[in-house]
Amino acid sequence: MRRVTLAAVCAIAVLTAGCGQLTLMSDGHLVLDLGGSGTDVLGIGGASYGDPVLQAFDAQQDVDADTSDPNSRAGANCSGGVCAIF
C-alpha cells in the first residue's frame, strides 16, 4: 500500500511537471504552475494568492506556527485514537 501511494504521488508529480513550470514563490513555496495562475519567480504571487478568502484561509493556519508543534502530544489533551497509537 505504501509503495503504491508513493508511486502514485511520484507519478502525479512527474506527469504534472511535464505540463507546468516549476517556480519559487516569494513566500518560499516551490510551485508547479500548470498555467493560468500568473505566478512569477520570487515575485508577487499569482491571482490565486491575491484572493481575499485564500489569504484569510492561509492566515488562520499560520497562527502559532512558531511555538506550536502539531506532533506534540505528551501531556497534551490528545484524541483517543492518536494516544492509543503511541
Partner: protein
Amino acid sequence: MRHLLVALSVATAWAVSGSAALAQGQDGAFRASLTPEIEFNNHIEFGISVDPSTVSGDTASQLKGSRSGLSARVETDGETGCLAYRLTFAPAVENYTGEDGFLDQFDGVRLPLAVSVAYRSTGRLPELRLRARATRLTRDAGIYDNWDPAVEIRVGEFASYEFRRRVFDESDRREDYLLISSTRHQGRGSLRILGGARTRVDMSYTVEGERYGVNLSELLYIAIGEASTFRRSDVRQVVDASALRVLSSSLLLQAGGSMMWNESNSDFYDFRTAEATGAAFWSGGEGRWVRAEVRRGWLDYGRREFSETLGGPTVKRRDTSWRGVLTTEWRVVDTVALTASADVLRNRTNDSREGREFLNYTQRIYRVGVAARY
C-alpha cells in the same frame, strides 16, 4: 495555581517590556495578544488511555470536565540587511475542573520560547531560516513535567530538517511512551501545484526517526513482548495531499488525504493510518471566518492481534473514526475577536475483548474564547 498565575504574569510583563524595547531599538515590529478561553471536554486524556489498558482501562477512562485557560503571546521581529529575526514567547496557563477534583493534577503551565533568524539573499534563492524553540511544560502532577527543545533548518517553505529532544524531569518507570524521553530527527519536503487562478494543491512527504528511553513499566514490557532492556525505535513516513478550490471571494472548499506508516523495531508498535478530509472555509471580511471540517480516519495495526477466546482465531486490531469540527473567529473591534469551536470525534475499534470498551467512545469538545491583539 495562584503562584503559577503570578509567574505567568511576571514572565509576560518581562517579555512584553523586553520585546518592545528590542523592537523600538532596532526599528522592528512588536505584537502582543491575550487569549482567555474556556473549554468543555467529555473525554480528557493525558496519555493514560493507552493500549493495552493497563492503566486507564481499569480506572477512569472517560474523564469529563472543563478547562479554563489564559494564554499570552508576545512577538517582535525586524530586519538588519539580509537577516531577519523574530522572537516569540507564548506562555499559557490552564486550570482543570471536574471529576471531584481529580482533574486538578492536570493544572499546568506551558512556556514556549521561539527564536528564528532568516537569511534572505538578493538573488533568486530561497530564504534560509534557522529556528530554535524550547517549551517547558509543568503540571501539578510532576509525571508530565518536561523540556521540549528543537532546532529546525528550513529552505523556503519546501524543505526542512528538524532535530527535537524531549526530556522528562524524572526517569522512573512509566506506563506510556508519551511520558518517556525521546529524540527525533525529521525531514520534510513539499510541493505546491497551481491549476489556474483558483485551484491549489499542496503535497508533502515527511520522514522521521524517533528513539525512546527505556524506563517503560515492566508490565508494558511484558504486554508488548519485549525484554526490559528493549529500546524502542520508530521510522515514520507521512504523505499528505490537499486540494482547494476558491468558489467565490468569500468561500473555498478543500479536500485532502493523508497516510502514515510507522515501522517500529517492536512489532507491537507497527501501524498505519489513513485520513480523508473535506472542509469548507468562509470569510466574512478581515478577522471574520468560519471553517467546517469532516474527517474520516482508519487505523490498522500490522501485527497487533487479539483473540476473543483462549486459543481462538486471531484478529488484527483496526479502528475507524469520524470527526467533525466547526471553528469560527469573529472580530468585533479592531483588536478583539471572539473565538469558538465544536469538535466531535467518534472512535470505534474491532477489539471486542473485555476491558477495551474505553476504545469505543465519542469525544465532544466545545470551546469559547476572546483574543485581544495589540
